[in-house]
Symmetry: C2
Subunit: 502 residues, 2 copies
Amino acid sequence: MKEFVNLFFSFLLGFLFPLPLPLFARGVVPSDAPNGAQRLMMERGYGMFVHFGMNTFIEQEWSEGNVPALTYAPDDLDCDQWVRVARDAGFRYVLLVTKHHDGFCLWDSQYTEYDVASSGNKTDVVGAVARACKKYGLEFGIYYSLWDSHEPTYTCGDFTKYVDFMCGQLTELMTNYGEICELWLDGAWDKPAAEWNIPRLYDLVKNINPNCAVGVNGTIGTSEEDQGGFVEVLPDRMTEDNIFHMRYFPGDFRLWDPKIASRNDKKQYLYGGNSYYLPFEHTICLSKEWAWFQKRDIKYVRDLDELEELFYWTTCNGNSLVVNIAPDYHGRIREHEAQTAIALCKRLGIRRGKPLPSGGRYLQVGCPTEATSCWDSSDEFAPDKASDGGLQTRWASADLTPQLVVTLAPHTEFDKITIFEYCDVERLGDFSNRRTNRIQAYTIDRFVDGRWETIFADDTPMGDCKTIRFPYFYSAEKVRLNVRSATAPPSIYEFNVINTSL
Amino acid sequence: MKEFVNLFFSFLLGFLFPLPLPLFARGVVPSDAPNGAQRLMMERGYGMFVHFGMNTFIEQEWSEGNVPALTYAPDDLDCDQWVRVARDAGFRYVLLVTKHHDGFCLWDSQYTEYDVASSGNKTDVVGAVARACKKYGLEFGIYYSLWDSHEPTYTCGDFTKYVDFMCGQLTELMTNYGEICELWLDGAWDKPAAEWNIPRLYDLVKNINPNCAVGVNGTIGTSEEDQGGFVEVLPDRMTEDNIFHMRYFPGDFRLWDPKIASRNDKKQYLYGGNSYYLPFEHTICLSKEWAWFQKRDIKYVRDLDELEELFYWTTCNGNSLVVNIAPDYHGRIREHEAQTAIALCKRLGIRRGKPLPSGGRYLQVGCPTEATSCWDSSDEFAPDKASDGGLQTRWASADLTPQLVVTLAPHTEFDKITIFEYCDVERLGDFSNRRTNRIQAYTIDRFVDGRWETIFADDTPMGDCKTIRFPYFYSAEKVRLNVRSATAPPSIYEFNVINTSL
């Protein structure tokens, strides 16, 4: 009922003030439930993120806007293939990087010459992807970098000129490519929040695409951070903390690439003393490395077990996930990456028009947790950090063979355990690294009828995300990770004890 | 029709010569097709091997027959649990070690005091397992060691007395425990073949249990071997080679623990100038290590991917597999081992009364195969050893980043690749070792439409058996393993390119 009142209020305001709309005109009101755009976004839930542009051709992740436009020259561009892969992989939308920090535009923008029209391949990529999305029945979202290293008005001294420039480009993007389901704004860290005039951008978008969900990377912050401080904890805590607030207002969802919200994320944040509902969109790379743009050499992809578990974590509780799959310098998604995304879809059993599959109930969340060893006496690496439902916090041991014991609620049954271990990262080159596990051998034990019983034992390095699927359900009073060998003191982000039938 | 004639002939002989039966009385005639006992054995196909006995209590694999009988003392013996696990894990029979080389008998034998009746737990284990098999609908097979370190007649100078002893014990085993589906005779290497009087043992068994399949470990040999030589190659080659012959005659199946027959094993071997049909029974441990008896410390089990692929290899083509799952010193199968066997069954989809699942068609077998590097100029490690359908032979490279290229037959499609890599073995202790992979990073590529395309890429060590399941079928003129990084020159037993739908 409240939502209906909000909707009616929005409609009334839209009728009274056709253009320009006053702030909050499009339903951004204090709330503890999703608005229309948010509800649609939460239903989509799973999108393919596509980074493609100047950086694809220069072996870099970020460039400075001074690479000649002709350097961009895909010789086998096939945007239809990108979206076909997205469809086959069960994604519900494609989120295209239309302009990265370098300012190079993937469409022919009348506001700049630094775009595909001046490049080695004049295809309007935004248009081609939008058409393919329509053809294959996917929704279409747009990533647009606020920060622009190329555009002269960005540094001309009068920043309102650059805001005008952005409004011109966003009008092109919102007007010429059909319905846009999402706008992902990036790079805001380069200026104080107020300079971007987010209210103006937001209203512009909502006037054209009322259902477009708008978010700005780094949405949530603390006063300490705003003053140049540093806060380590993921900002998915509630207004009751009175610590976190919306840094960019208004907006429909949170972004804090590449963090992962906790399982009990309640999505409530303060702005101007009021509390707003904001779902979270997660961003991960299909690649094992933190590499958004494709390089000449092939990239290794994450293991399906890890992708599956990250899917469950990031799409639960009304939050959503975009997985970056970057086309190569020819202009096509590489086969081994397409194949992995499609295999994941088949494994998950994603179906069109059906709710996304759930990972089951995570029984460890909030359960009493002890360990035989802890890194220090502070709360930071305490045992219960491995069962707090969050991947940003972790338990850390002080020795090499610790035990972690979770006491489950009575009458609990589980049939799956997954473990996110903290890994050491080895740098292998400019765009290359490798995670290495500390835990080399371990057992999983259950405590039942007064004794411990080993139900799983392994002596191979734990892997990026260890997944153990049991062929039947176990009951247990307690479950234990018993480390038998490690190369350094083990640390666990989360020890997930799961009932997949719930 | 021929089989019917054989059967009739056997019946007639049995009628004419009730006891003792002449040699070949029970249908062991030259043949190129299975006899009755063989056909039943091939239908069973998948059994649980149970090593339990004196060695379970002394942290050894073999003992000398001088450990006091009272040392054997399980305090929670539950043979019903063993067979329940076997049933839940999809095994069709249980093969029980009733007496190992140490001579200790798991039943109360009137021919020795070195048995359970004199031990710390007087349960007749043979009887308990036989009853549980009947209860759970499984068949029951018996392992019996010919070699006996304890029995005085074994070394009394007149070996016929020991043969009498064996005949007494085998009569107990064949008479008192219902139908016995299989007799597995071990340790024959300790004496010249003729001394065992296999014809007498064979006829004894067949007179009581005509359908009992009888086999002696090391069934097949070469003249060179019989004279103390050493032949490396698995004896699954055909009579046309005129190299291999039956060393122990008569018998219904071959044993050569722990070797694995090739996929095109034709089961034909010479004895006395005639050719006999002999299926192969494979033996593997669930444990990663070569450990048949359980030790105090938990044993790590093989990965499910490796077990699955070994299942397909060893049960194809009419051969069979027994998997050793050893109860611990309490007298129960450990939960993590039971769970693994049951998980394998669920993954394979084994169903009662249905044929065992097949792994599909292995397309690489016999295909032209090349490599960029080879260990030496001899044939021993040639590239085609990785596509000859045999796990006893392997291709070996001379450098760290070789490519192996298999040219497939035209119009071939595959959806799975599995790779058995030769591993270095690291000794970790008396009963402990670890296989370590040489290949650290690699791609799988297909050649189609005149170019190579990467369809899989991985930078984690290959694992004991790498299994890659593709979500759809690939066509290809050639398939390539492209090693990008290795710790030593890679070597591949078999590079399996599989169509799972065939």
